[in-house]
């Protein structure tokens, strides 16, 4: 009976955590995939994996961190599998200048659009590397393992991404 009660109580905890953290997981995956369906799939995959390993977690915080990380891994994996869209080539070919104005009198919308354009100018690997490092705080080695490359290569990709972003943000800030 106790086992039964425990089993029914756990979905409750998962649902509560999902309500609280779902938006964050989804957005983290969305930044990686730039595709809402893939982001949703990644979170669902992570949730189910976490559910099947629910006895391994000692608390809500550990569970949140774990799901967040697994969701990101799933997101990267899903993007890799759907690479047929040749996103990298498209981004490189469709070079878009940020809509800078000499006055730098931007509305918030224009600013966000330009920031989004800056991110879009990054290749898939550059964007993923930058996000995993700058936003998610992963170690270089972890990124290398996940993206199936070397740590030195991750460093190079990261530096290249940052240089590209800086160029665009200089324009945004009206700096030379």
């Amino acid at each position: 009976m106790l086992t039964l009660l425990k089993s029914w109580a756990q979905p409750d905890a998962f649902q509560t955590l999902l309500n609280e953290r779902g938006v964050r997981w989804f957005n983290a995956c969305l930044r990686i995939t730039r595709d809402k369906d893939l982001a949703a799939d990644a979170v669902q995959e992570a949730l189910l994996k976490a559910w099947h390993r629910r006895d391994d977690f000692r608390g809500e915080a550990a569970l949140d961190t774990w799901i967040h990380r697994i969701a990101l891994n799933s997101a990267i994996d899903l993007v890799r599998r759907r690479k047929t869209r040749a996103e990298d080539e498209l981004v490189d070919d469709e070079f878009t200048e940020p809509s800078a104005s000499p006055d730098s009198e931007y509305s918030q919308q224009a600013l966000e659009k330009d920031l989004a354009v800056a991110m879009q100018r990054l290749s898939l690997k550059e964007r993923q590397t930058f996000l995993l490092k700058h936003i998610e705080g992963w170690r270089l080695e972890e990124i290398a393992e996940t993206l199936q490359t070397s740590t030195n290569n991750v460093k190079s990709i990261l530096f290249r991404a940052i240089r590209k972003l800086r160029v665009d943000l200089h324009v945004w800030r009206g700096e030379s």
Partner: protein
Amino acid sequence: MISDDDLILYYYRDGLDANERARIGAALSAHPELAQRLQTLVARLDAVSAMPEVPVPAEVQDRWRAALDGAAQQDAPRETRGARKSFSQVRWPLAAAAAVAIVALTLVFQTVLKPAPELTAEVTPPEVPSGSDASAYERGLKWHLASTEQQLASLESASPEERERLVETIIAQNRLYALAAERAGQPQLARVLRAFAPVLESVAKDDESSEGGIAQLNFELRVMQGRLGAAADASSTPRSTTL
């Protein structure tokens, strides 16, 4: 000569050996213009990272819940297989009634746990957050502070590797909330959250200074939680307390 690449690795606390870190740390202390360069660089990268959050579509949330319910229901029969086998053979009408009841309970469960509208509300530009966005953000921040307190409490029993890993996780989460605070038009809060980073770094070391660091962090966390609680009480609405 210190390149921007070195500066950025220093900021990430990754990819540099101890000597390089010490050299860059000393240079940053000695040359304010270098520290300014790093600060400007990080501010730009933070700006590009602080993209507005996208709400989770309602149908996606429903799909996640359904998937979890499905997994839970698959597990439940496994745990009670022995007892239920004979029960269903002899008393199938009761079993059917129980199944109906489970479906009904699931529906009630889903309805009750449906997130409050503000959780899926569109996030507005940072300068003018709407009440509902501020509420969702505030709940997230409270959750982060409580979770940080929990994680700090677990540091004592953690191995040095686990300890370092935990602290890094907290620093990364902190950075996210500092970004969110800036987006919510709360630069002071963002500064306080960023000020946690050096204290957390000292905590990661697991030496004598770390105990003081943990005590200081716990104190700061409680002060912030108290302020958030007081602010919520002052402007308490049913929406700010629902989940």
